[in-house]
Symmetry: D2
Subunit: 324 residues, 4 copies
């Protein structure tokens, strides 16, 4: 039976990690479990940067971006020696279950660690990219989309004033979720994502048609991992092929920060509590997710390997709304 | 076959009506339908306040609160004479389908009008209250929750500075959705909603325990339709029963306004396009909704009469997170 | 020579108190002074709720509403006994100068305490009301105005959708600064403030004229201390005297919270540093302020007694812009 | 006597141009002047893209970024032919005074045009850069600073989570106002501006000391026109010289957009009304400004040629607050 858990945030941070940590900690305390916080992800587990947490330690953090447990990408954890030290700290603190909030890489690390050591693991989907199977929305996604959309709204102001075309690059090396959602929300004229092939000629033609239809500005949202090669590369490729005056904007790391949205805080809080509910019910080596508004548990292996495609209706809607 | 549609927004307005109108208009034009905009809801249909809309008419509105078609609650439409005039305008403009964005009352009106006149009707769920069956999220709900949450965040600042208890009243005469969601997102200590009975003694006891646990402030979110009677009434009932210094805040009409969130714009855009897709596919006298991320059509009668209960996991999570 | 200072925040809290505290603390440490933080204002000074502060204690607070030192209104400090205890703690901690961030009441208290005890005092203007002589902008004012304006923007959305008149009540029991500024920024049709007499008939006539000129909505900003008696009272007085459909909105305590604006953080930071610069230069029993972008020191007595009238050009501009 | 005026926005757009236009238009109508709007700056004056404006044309724009009159940089206006055509339109529409909202370049153009043609000109300081002599704050500056600060707040979240150093580039080719103000407001560790020489070694040393003092993150704000060469160049120059993990973020064009802040709207509204007040009082060939909260008029020649240095107290405060 689980008496003690430890929680860490790992990999690229995302807004919503704090309410997730709060959910895990308070969910555990509510069920009379002891809770340790591990600082700086696997680095802290190796270094013993571990502290017991109370309910007050996670008070007043639900509305803050970043993560109070800090995060890191750990090279040491990829070594035998690092994993050995990590496991010794697991034993030292009598940790029955290791809870990790993180993305693809962090959950892959958790899965490997579990397989080697036999400890109980529970993952929470913490990434702005929304590319984990087993949950509809990852922690950080809704906030990142709103942050990017707010920036696009501002860029639209100046684009319209000067009748310009802006290529706006958003995060997403392998997944076009952020790009697709914020393009739809920002009323973008086109969106370029890794999941689909980009045709420069067709893009330019569509943009020219928009100009003919009287559009005063155009926004193309470009996922950084698009095959055309990001916004700067794309701007070079379309140079001279449209009448638009072109500018580039790279939104960058601000997409990871900011106070989490309402949806984010709710999603993260429920996932946090759901992680504890799962552990108590005997779930192990799974990632907790919310699918169709219900808490579900997916084996870590599936969560990190299975593909979650973008709902076609989003792309279709985006296309219809920008074609006219 | 449908060649001409007309669209109106009706009843209490909500943020997201503009992207919904944009979705309907562009979705229709994309499918070569003629589109009329009816201003001021059923009032405008009766008065002939009707104008053909182009794609440019709905340009630059995706990020604006309110509704460019204006809204109203129509007394005239409840009379025989009013309905007769409305129908004459339907014939005059050769409107094949009437699309209405509105809540409970507006869709009830649409249903009655359809039954009397035999015209084709399509409803979109437009209300901040989220209390329509047949869709997971109504248009205006996510924005209202974020607006209320932002206010709660600000109130928390001053509550904590002065170690006070605030009763924050949010909209919701018959439904506790806004209250439940923004309480969870705002980390509120308690939430009072119409769906559950409010026990003043138990409430005071919980608040006192929080104080003993070291809480520096407390927020109780009160839906205006709670059986304890709104925030002002509740403050009178708890007077003298806790050690907290109590204040009341009424959030009011700002919950209906503001630039729509990303989720709102996407939801509203998809519903707008989905309404047209439905009409083309032969759907009639239904409300378009999104359930589990898929477009669905629910007979108007069901949408306005069936109950959509609040997911228990939200209430449970809220309770766990505020008990510790 | 001053070696040790203590800082408190007192009275009604306001956004910007945190960057002010940060400014004082870091300004002092930079000049090799020892700094104590006094918690909960004069209450904490009496109770000995005092802690030495380091630079890290004020790290990460520049963007947070509220005050990390908490605030309070102290009844005990009005008694001989309370003041005696307070003074004993001043001696116990060897505090050479007492720095107080607060409004009218708090600075009056400081002045009395100084006169009785002979210690060195330094005030910072901390109030959302902007009604202190000796500074152009008090700490909390710019943020309060922006918060109120954002709410008015949202209310305008729904007001326009339904062609309504809203009476929006903002803080200001004795001063119309917040009302005047956010009315001008929100494009309000009229503003009612304590400084001028309110004529209900003239108000109604202006609102009617606006309707005739084609205005789709009207906003009247009402300072809570206006002689007409706040928004609820005013709504009763205008009932039946205009064709407008009238609603009331009370903005309440959220005006005290929220992340400080850029201007606020800069103003507060400079005042904090300026307070220390003043103490080092031998200033005492003054309030630090910024007038015409320059740091100035005003005797506490003047700061709390002299009147700072509202610049007439604001009222004139507001009147011109809403008359057409 | 002036009976007819025309207004345009010109050059790089900035948030606040809309309330400025509203102020000019309503101020003119209030004084019974006829008002023409010229679209797309000098381009529109040459092309005759001119339309009479009513009060309703500028309704509902006070809160919108961009400019409803559009803007442009005009090559044609630099030619004799262009200026001749422009002047013909001035005569055709019987324009007695030309009001231009714009920056350095646009006001220089206005001044030349005035000298050649003898018409009456009035400039409003419209630029995010705040580098015009004759006004404390240009139109667009306060909003740009708040937008940049909000981005820095978000970047701080992720910087702290990962204990990183970010170089954040803001606009300002020749002036460090935006950089200085948002660095102070964002609590940045250092700011690099064109007005001062950048020493890479000293910068690195300061950043290293911060790390030793326990800082969990560092932000350096870089004006694009700094002599070290912008954020990307600076990152190359400091590579290997600190222990910090370094990232770069370019804020870009979003600084020009967004809903104007309260201060912005008030400043712009007063300048708009002040421009008309000046014209009526006989001012000509001047730029209207606000200095020490009073409306003043400065000859265009001075406004575009005289230097307005950054208040030293800002730099000093920034330095003190980041040194500890």
């Amino acid at each position: 039976m689980i008496k003690t858990i430890a929680i860490m945030t790992s990999g690229g941070d995302s807004s919503g990690m704090n309410p997730a940590v709060r959910g895990v900690v308070r969910g555990a305390l509510y069920n009379n479990l002891k809770v340790y916080g591990i600082y700086r992800g696997y680095e802290g587990l190796i270094d013993g940067d571990i502290k017991e947490l109370t309910s007050r330690d996670v008070g007043g953090i639900i509305n803050r971006g970043g993560t109070v447990l800090y995060s890191a990408r750990s090279k040491k954890f990829r070594t035998e020696e690092g994993q050995k030290q990590a496991y010794e700290n697991i034993k030292k603190y009598k940790i029955d279950a290791l809870v990790v909030v993180g993305g693809d890489g962090s959950l892959t690390g958790l899965n490997l660690f579990i397989e080697k050591t036999g400890i109980v693991g529970m993952g929470l989907p913490g990434t702005i990219d929304n590319d984990l199977y087993g949950t509809d929305y990852t922690i950080g996604f809704d906030t990142a989309v709103n942050v990017a959309m707010d920036a696009i709204d501002k860029i639209r102001d100046t684009a319209t004033s000067h009748e310009r075309l802006f290529l706006v690059e958003v995060m997403g090396r392998h997944a076009g979720y952020i790009a697709t959602y914020c393009a739809l929300a920002g009323g973008a004229e086109e969106v370029l994502i890794p999941e689909t092939e980009t045709h420069i000629e067709a893009l330019c033609q569509k943009l020219e048609e928009g100009k003919k239809h009287g559009k005063k500005s155009s926004i193309v949202v470009v996922a950084e991992g698009d095959d055309a090669g990001g916004a700067v590369e794309t701007s070079k490729k379309i140079a001279g092929k449209t009448d638009w005056d072109v500018r580039v904007s790279l939104l960058g790391h601000m997409q990871r920060g900011g106070s989490p949205t309402a949806f984010e805080r709710i999603n993260a809080s429920r996932l946090g509590v759901g992680a504890i509910e799962g552990l108590i019910a005997g779930e192990k080596n799974v990632m907790v997710g919310i699918v169709n508004d219900q808490i579900v548990y997916t084996p870590l292996k599936e969560a990190i390997s299975k593909k979650k495609p973008i709902n076609e209706h989003y792309l279709k809607t985006s296309d219809i709304l920008s074609s006219i």
